[in-house]
Symmetry: C2
Subunit: 272 residues, 2 copies
């Protein structure tokens, strides 16, 4: 029987933030497939009086292309509702006058079109899958080790994610690799950084205790949101693993089978 105590507080919610990959859809060949019930669940949330935003560490493509993919899957979603790390990184780079060496998906590079990339004085990594070749990682390493004070940005710090053909290593793994190689600590842009969650709350104009985060990543979605003062619920889809429910440091406010079940519980508490 599901623990439903988290839903008791649904009455006082003003906004919901949804992770995307593993909650809305499973990624994989051809862009991925919607998780059953999730298209309808988003529709129901939008029809409610709750505010809704999407918060992703997705960095495989520009936000525009990414949102278009979700729309083709049937999701009612627009670019302005989606918060992703690359636009946040561009803002940081410009503010600090940094010129990045990029180790990212080819499809993400256009996000950085407006940034000077000559004679790099920092490195930006994001999930890059096959672009994480030995040669490319070594090139990023040489840029960093050649700087007097190496500066490394990591768009997210996930361990792995799930595609239709199995688990795949995520950017956090390569962040740890470069951190060790150069004896530096990366600056994480994206979940679970509080500043990233806070930017979503600011956009909705609500306080942390008025918001609920729903994600499949216990540490980065649930733990990150809780650290920021929100409630965090984990879905048993995507990268969820049973051992998450006995994690030593992060305990979700609730665990549900999927997004559809979470939305059912929230909306029924609110009398919908």
């Amino acid at each position: 029987m599901a623990d439903t105590s988290w839903a008791d507080s649904a009455k006082s919610l003003k906004g919901v933030i949804l992770d995307m990959c593993g909650v809305l859809y499973d990624s994989g060949e051809g862009g991925g497939v919607p998780i059953p019930g999730s298209v309808e669940a988003v529709k129901r949330l939008k029809a409610s009086d709750l505010q809704l935003r999407f918060c992703t560490n997705e960095t495989q493509a520009t936000r525009e292309k990414f949102v278009a993919k979700l729309q083709r899957m049937g999701f009612d979603i627009s670019v302005s509702e989606v918060f992703s790390p690359a636009p946040a990184a561009v803002a940081v780079l410009k503010e600090r006058g940094l010129r990045p060496h990029l180790l990212v998906y080819d499809g993400l590079v256009p996000e950085f079109d407006s940034v000077d990339k000559t004679s790099p004085n920092c490195v930006v990594i994001a999930d890059a899958a096959d672009n994480f070749s030995y040669q490319n990682l070594n090139e990023a390493f040489r840029v960093l080790i050649g700087l007097e004070k190496p500066v490394l940005f990591s768009l997210g710090k996930g361990r792995y994610y799930k595609e239709t053909d199995g688990l795949k290593l995520d950017v956090g793994v390569y962040m740890k690799a470069l951190e060790y190689a150069c004896d530096v600590e990366a600056e994480v842009i994206g979940k679970p950084a509080s500043v990233f969650f806070q930017s979503v709350l600011n956009d909705m104009g609500i306080q942390p205790h008025e918001a609920l985060m729903i994600g499949d990543d216990l540490v980065n979605d649930v733990g990150g949101a809780q650290h920021c003062g929100m409630k965090g619920v984990q879905v048993r889809t995507g990268k969820y693993r049973p051992s998450d429910e006995r994690h030593p440091t992060v305990t979700a406010d609730g665990t549900v089978d999927n997004l559809a079940q979470a939305v059912d519980m929230i909306l029924s508490q609110r009398g919908h």
Copy 2:
């Protein structure tokens, strides 16, 4: 002016252990090139009354092929004098009944010919350079994450090494990557593990305080040897960087320009 206080104790030495890559030669295309003066320095040590062993984390080829390469460069060296991680790993695997999934240089695989590799219940990684593709690292990850209790062996934990065309990421970087991905701690076989240095001392039949380690890697050669009770001297060749001389946790007993200078100082103290 060089600090020569470490050499004062050279009179009481009974044995010297030399790291190889970065001390004897610089690796790179075509197998690498001897560091000037090192062939002669090995010859002088062999002609002295000191015992001499070589201790390497080299895992690019079998020990036999590796030693043959050094011999072609002009070094007076034999297989029985060389301690490398792969034979030590094979012993551990057999002792514990483990069947490895290997992520290593193609040239190292024959070292594991005598080990059952069907239905793997552990992962062994070593420096693999271009074999550290995203696909191969992901495959090793999937083996580990699929085990009830992931067991990861890393042959060495170096950050990087120097080849004739520049710095290259070493196995330690990928060890950290897999440790983070699977939330495990790797078992390191090779330097700086004390058990590895101790096996070299045992072979010479001497005590730690009677031995001197000479290497280019401050943490793995010098720090590892010191941790084991030996003196450790760093050469300013190979992966040496000036910042090593103000390292926060490891301080070499001495720093010399190269092996030839170290051997000069040792032998002149001993009246040769």
